[in-house]
Symmetry: D2
Subunit: 396 residues, 4 copies
């Protein structure tokens, strides 16, 4: 096996102290955040309010080797207590159901603690905008885990667009098909399905909120374009379902580019088929989440090229987000971990009184979260208005 050079170790005196709200026994995304935080060894999990149920919270904490006195059942108490400790947490990861993101984030921001928050940001645009204002006032770091932006070849794609390799962007094709809700799984007591199709817990978007926002964000992250307006049709194919399970959206960008976005959870044969294709006057690019170590790059009038993570033609942005050499596939967890690694770099830079590596500064922010909420709101409004083009811009 050939292996590239080790990423330069950043000499820091200690690991960043991480707390977590949510993510107790039986939860899943919390476990993903913990692996992501652990992967590059920059964080240690030292405190948690892992469940609102005290017994479950403490049992979960014990399993994770969190000291008993730093296991909380109440996030507000945790924020206060940790803020008061000399060895209190530096940053909190919020991995609860969506409707709790905002109140928890406010509590930790008030306590002067940085925040890493799972997506989507909130359940309403209004909440999102309020959170934007709070983050801005607080000066704290706020990272939103739109994790697909952590993939090396997504970073590569973004860098290529930014450097002009595609010329002027004309067309954006984003899609995110899945098949797991092709039947009424929610009726069978499937927990993950149940809350995603419940407007009270999931907000106004079903497939739109769950995965459509990932596609919208990824297209934006790579293309660098600003969405201007949407024309949409939301559908619900499974009888009795209360939210959309298929979303078709036409996109207008402020630079004149046009796009299509498809999100579906009733598309048999697709597990997690997030794919973004960008076409410009000079070249096209295609990224597929299920094959994340590749990027298809087709310069106009030349043979298409297969760029690989770490291979010829991959540059600094991809290398920044990689750990191992070309040909040794990295995956979802590494992409997720990259957001944590980038947050760590931002925190280390603050500790060391230096500017962070610019490549670590593209982690999705609270503003990205607000744009995602605006997207959901606009799509729902357009669909209700029989596809009328609806403004999707947001000025902060």
């Amino acid at each position: 096996m050939t292996l590239a050079a080790t990423p330069a170790a950043t000499s820091v005196p200690r690991r960043i102290r991480l707390g977590m709200v949510g993510g107790g026994q039986g939860a899943f995304i919390g476990a993903v955040h913990r692996i992501a935080a652990r992967l590059d060894d920059a964080f240690e999990l030292v405190a948690g309010a892992l469940s609102a149920d005290a017994a479950r919270a403490h049992a979960s904490a014990a399993e994770l080797h969190i000291a008993a006195d730093r296991s909380y059942a109440d996030y507000a108490a945790m924020a206060r207590a940790e803020a008061a400790r000399d060895d209190g947490i530096d940053v909190v990861a919020i991995v609860t159901p969506n409707h709790l993101h905002a109140p928890i984030a406010h509590a930790f921001l008030d306590a002067g603690i940085d925040v890493i928050c799972d997506k989507p940001l909130t359940t309403t645009l209004e909440e999102a905008l309020e959170l934007v204002r709070h983050v801005r006032r607080s000066g704290r770091l706020f990272a939103l885990t739109h994790n697909y932006s952590g993939y090396p070849m997504v970073r590569q794609a973004r860098a290529m667009v930014a450097e002009g390799a595609l010329g002027e962007i004309r067309v954006v094709q984003a899609e995110y098909p899945q098949d797991w809700l092709s039947t009424d799984l929610e009726a069978s007591g499937h927990k993950q399905a149940a809350w995603r199709v419940d407007p009270a817990r999931a907000g106004a978007g079903g497939s739109l909120g769950d995965i459509g926002t990932h596609a919208e964000h990824l297209a934006r992250y790579i293309s660098g374009l600003e969405l201007e307006a949407v024309s949409a049709e939301l559908s619900t194919f499974v009888s009795g379902r209360r939210l959309d399970d298929n979303a078709h959206v036409m996109l207008r960008y402020t630079n004149g580019a046009r796009g299509l976005l498809w999100a579906s959870q009733v598309a048999p044969g697709h597990e997690n088929g997030l794919k973004v294709r960008i076409y410009g006057s000079k070249a096209g690019l295609a990224f597929s989440q299920e094959e994340p170590n590749h990027l298809r790059y087709a310069p106009l009038g030349e043979p298409p090229r297969l760029l690989t993570r770490g291979g010829p033609g991959s540059g600094a942005a991809a290398a920044h987000a990689s750990r191992i050499p070309a040909g040794h596939p990295e995956g979802y967890l590494e992409g997720f971990a990259q957001l944590y690694r980038d947050v760590a770099e931002q925190i280390h830079a603050r500790w060391q009184g230096r500017a962070p590596d610019p490549l670590a500064c593209t982690v999705p922010t609270v503003e990205d979260g607000a744009l995602g909420m605006k997207f959901i709101e606009a799509v729902v409004a357009s669909s209700r208005a029989d596809g009328r083009w609806t403004d999707a811009r947001l000025r902060f």
Copy 2:
């Protein structure tokens, strides 16, 4: 090499006599039609009005070994003369620019001669409907060469949908990206480009008419669904171009299914990327024109399967449209030839006073051509009305 059994030879006394209008020296689609007609040896080309320029017509005919007395410069004269001969043509292939399809077809129908016509049917819906009426009155055979419907795995897909393998169809995703008009090729004197972006010769649709109609037809051919309405945005990205080079269309089908269609001629990296994906309550199917020997079939809850032309899981409809065994790729010309082979079967059946093989009776018709014109008209109207949902139904 392992080879399947020879398709049963149909004992017929002679080859079908074919005439051609258009397709003289330097033309291309005429050559494709001639190969398609020749491939299965059911036709012989015996007459032609290959060009409106007499010298060019005759030179072209000589090259093709057409007898001098059956080379015409005028299609009307040809229709009359051939109708009067004992050994006159049985069928004419019309391969001229689009705006001539209708008058030529009328002339040969009037002469009692069957017609094979290149797509699109006409340049306006009105012309198309008039042609439908004429064909119906005449009782003649009229085949429209939406050639992608001749691919074995397209036939297989259509059969699977018809047999219910997909359950109720919910979502249709059709796309047809190309890149050859990413620059203003028309300005450089490129003949194929020039007429396609000229409304006078190409009609109201640019990429929409040229390739969007292929995608629309193929989705319809496979799914069997009736289009109800469209909401569209046509764009022109290359400066100075007079017709659309990118089309985004949302689709509503009368059964409640929803779809997206994307046609583009400014998508670098795509040569001829026609792709149709159909998702139902029980399974999904994907067909890609550039890999026509395969069909991806994903029954819900089972591993996706790769069906191959002639391989396990391929049935009678695919076999009907195949010549050689699995693993020996067939391509575009064979798919095109299948339409000719099916027309031949229909003519042979008439000669022999029997019903034609039902598998040979799915060749696109004049009605399909009219539906295509309706689609173009509806998309253009919707785009002009800022994406308003526009009726795309057509009752004959």
Copy 3:
């Protein structure tokens, strides 16, 4: 659809007159040859000894619209009669079982008629060498239908190697897996299977002779290398089978390159998986028969490129063997037809007293056939000698 310019028509007074020996009703490869001959309209089939059974021969001829007086039951009679006619055949296609290739070829060469012969050339090396001598004495054209060499991207690959794009060739990996003989199909009366596993009719090689020689030829055709020696292991996995159904061969080339060749008819999941990969000091190339419109080209230190038939990076050799534009797949029949088209160009050039297009002069020859027989002989000898390296060179 975008279509390339028509290949320049060669003005010739008439089609080349083709006769056929073998290929009567129920045969298959004869039908393939007929399509191949017909595709580019340079040949017309006017005579045949389609079966040794007179009734079957004449019935077959009638179906193919061959005049009754040019239907023969005896190939020797046919050779004499056609040679005597003013409108006698120019060339004969031999599509009989292998053991008849040699006597038939001798008869037509003696009659001064060019020969197109199906592969493998003969059943023994001795017969092959005798045929080489006869062809050389006769001055007649002799083409061997190693049809995979007719693929445009195979031509492209050969040209790239010849032009030095790969540098010095180091490694050749050829494989040809199939699965259709995974069971004892021959026991069930399957005609194609039965003769292939019968040493009397198929010669010393089973999978080796049937498909291994195709792989060997294709590797040679692309690489331009001369085989020096082989070390082999032939296996028979299906109980009771009389010839090998799996062949493993190590290859030494005279330039120092090394290779592996695998042919198998017991490899479930493979239909016709012929694949040749060539690696040199500067680049690697991969061609896969089941995806013949592509060629993967990986220059050392650069991203791999996907060359497509007709696309950017494809040159004159590919264009020479193409009919339709990039993105419109060509397949097995077009590749096969290319050999006929190239033979036609050689005959036309002779008629016109000019040198043939050099691109049409790479059609496999009788010498290639002899090299194939030498390869079979050497592999069988090596396998019998427990893999001893065995000379595979042949000097003419």
Copy 4:
């Protein structure tokens, strides 16, 4: 995103204490081991002899937050000191150059400490056999990080073979092409290249030892077959190189199966192309390391199926080695981590006085390492004997 249930947490009082020998600053495989150990949170790195250079060892330890009193410059001292501590390490990871594996392993075994050792086991077969004996005497756990056996779809493949899904295995095709040594990289001071082509440090095999053993092991791991003999040709294509950079090997298995193995480091276009294909009387399987989330499964007479990690058709063995749901790619690091996770399960089971999960008991062992050394020895001997079939069996 849909996510599967959390793997059942194993309630254990503390993390397993891990020490490391080798892996100091600038080393790479040590970093991979550390990530692998960390990923599932079952280990904590508490001690190390990270370099033989004391200053470098201590600087490296400090960066990894290892306490100063547990940073050693001498592995023997470390073994003694850790064995004497109440909180001494439970297991040591050996990640030094190969020739040091054996002495270090002996030292820790003597100290009663479990061992995880990087591959290849040793530099000679004799050393390997001695180590086998020591491990057996000691009763300690010894895991060899043939990491590709940790991939979920490799586990799936192994389980399918074991359950008889393939019937009797007939053919094994293993390959591992890379391109990074296509030039004399070693001459340019490239550290990773230099030692791999130095017989003193790398042993008798170049590409054979570095990657050929991975291919051999993976084929054995999946197929469950015992190698009987090899016939090989080793080549060195880059001028001046002292070890092979290309290995061609024919394989005989004791059950009668036959195989080919190709390892190359001079194959432009391949990054890390490890691929194993297994064909039996009932089905074929293909696994490709660069696309590790898939397994192609082709039952004879049925359409090939694409099994995915976590998707339909994947069973308990794949699930055991997975962390996240289907469609969310896992990669090299997760596969590597699986070996650590399985070792942890074995240790936890010992702590808890229960039998370990059988699915965790397929981690490569010291015996696997000895078989790998035997394979290298036999291939080298065969190649030196002009490809003579050479016994590759090893009885313990």
